[in-house]
């Protein structure tokens, strides 16, 4: 097994190798054990300072990153755009450079602009972890999704995963496709044709427009949220939420009427009654809360591995 990551930053799953993903998973296994100890904290990152820059709203990702950092004993500084100088017209590089001048080793960033993390990695000297850049990638979510499937089904190889919902606006979908394909799973995307990007087949995924067909095909159904905030009001993607939910909402009746037991996932936040009903969200086949638990272990593994790589690189130079 590889002993180091092949990358200095986690900008997207696209840049990772299969070995990188497996290394992250093997370390996440150990961190998961740490999270179940009486004392859930290790001192590894005592001298590492991490800045969490959230230019876009987030609850669970931000909490999950913060918790992961605290469990590793890192020092953290938090930043959210709504309370900062960004409102006064400061540029991204200036904002970040100001934070780095305070000797920060790592930056976890969420931003509404796709590619903002790549841009930042070229301009500043710190390890960058992408916590979601616009509609581009959300790598830690894809890692924790794949990790949760591996935990539930043993392995990803040959498993069939359907990603259902708003594929066009979803960074989770893109990162998941890259991650699942690298680990040898088969992927299908399913949703109204207005919400499936053209040429998505070039990523090696199947496209399906019927929810029932997708569910009959898959072992795992990853239900995505309808991202109303990313849809321009002038361009309707579907007639109404009610109609979307009639056609693409997963109900208990549909789930239990299938010929096999399909694992249900959701990256959150859930719109109960839109993409899945409450009964499905709390169903025994749903692993939504396991995903949240695994999120902390995966983020600990990513931060731990990046913090080490960084130092090694510096010493070579």
């Amino acid at each position: 097994m590889n002993r180091t990551l092949s990358v200095k930053h986690l900008l997207g799953i696209k840049d990772l190798t299969k070995e990188d993903i497996e290394l992250i998973f093997s370390q996440a296994d150990e961190f998961k054990e740490v999270l179940n100890r009486p004392i859930k904290k290790v001192p590894s990152l005592r001298d590492v300072t991490i800045a969490n820059l959230f230019f876009e709203n987030s609850t669970r990702t931000r909490l999950s990153f913060e918790l992961a950092e605290k469990r590793l004993s890192a020092d953290i500084v938090n930043f959210s755009a709504s309370t900062s100088s960004v409102k006064k017209g400061e540029t991204l590089v200036d904002t970040v450079n100001n934070i780095l001048a305070m000797k920060v080793d790592m930056v976890v960033m969420r931003h509404s602009a796709p590619g903002s993390c790549l841009f930042l990695s070229k301009h500043i000297d710190a390890a960058i972890v992408n916590a979601g850049d616009g509609t581009h990638e959300h790598p830690t979510q894809a890692l924790l999704d794949a990790y949760s499937i591996r935990e539930k089904l043993g392995s990803l190889k040959g498993k069939k995963v359907a990603i259902i919902g708003d594929i066009t606006h979803s960074r989770v979908a893109l990162s998941n496709i890259y991650c699942l394909k690298k680990l040898g799973a088969e992927v299908m995307v399913c949703g109204p044709s207005t919400m499936i990007p053209k040429h998505i087949q070039s990523l090696g995924v199947k496209v399906e427009h019927s929810l029932r067909n997708a569910l009959e095909w898959c072992d795992v159904a990853n239900m995505l949220r309808i991202q109303l905030e990313r849809q321009e009001v002038s361009v309707p993607y579907f007639p109404s939420l009610r109609e979307y939910s009639m056609q693409y909402g997963l109900t208990k009746e549909i789930l239990e009427g299938l010929s096999k037991k399909v694992v249900v996932m959701h990256p959150g936040p859930i719109n109960r009654g839109v993409e899945i009903t409450s009964e499905v969200a709390d169903h025994t086949q749903s692993i939504i809360l396991e995903q949240v638990e695994n999120g902390v272990a995966i983020r600990m593994a990513v931060i731990y591995l990046l913090a080490q790589t960084r130092r090694t690189e510096k010493e070579v130079v």
Partner: protein, 179 residues
Amino acid sequence: MANLTLVDNKHLGLIINRLCYQLIEDHGTFNDTVLLGLQPRGVFFAERIVEKLKTISPKANIKYGKVDPTFYRDDFRRSDKTLLAQPTEIPYDLEGKKVVLMDDVLYTGRTIRAGIECLLEYGRPSSIELMVLIDRRLSRELPIEPTYLGLSVDSYDNQKVKVIWNGESGDKVQLLTDK
């Protein structure tokens, strides 16, 4: 690398036998004792001891686990090697127990320090003892000494003492010299 065999398979078997009897002398039925092998290589040593103890004293209540010191090491971001964690498996409450920590080679003492810090997260043992197969006694950087000792070895810093577990000729201890 010139290799010198310090302990062959037969000799190592004798040492393990002796250490087991020492443990039985001090711990009796092992009711209040937890044996912990240090990841990664101390686990092999600990497994040999546990196996032998079970044949010598089949009725003893032997509790055995593994402890990984990685997250507690003091060379994170300071060494060229990436520190990767191994499983920690301590399925027992250590509160009030007598812990015997086991490793194959005691060198600077830093790994043992990290191991102790890790196991303290599982409760407050009444005591912690240390059992090592090989003690490179001239190379200590921390005030840590073994309670139970297989063999003391005097060596230089450019040498490496390596225990080979499950090799072609069974288990053996070698002194490797960098030339």
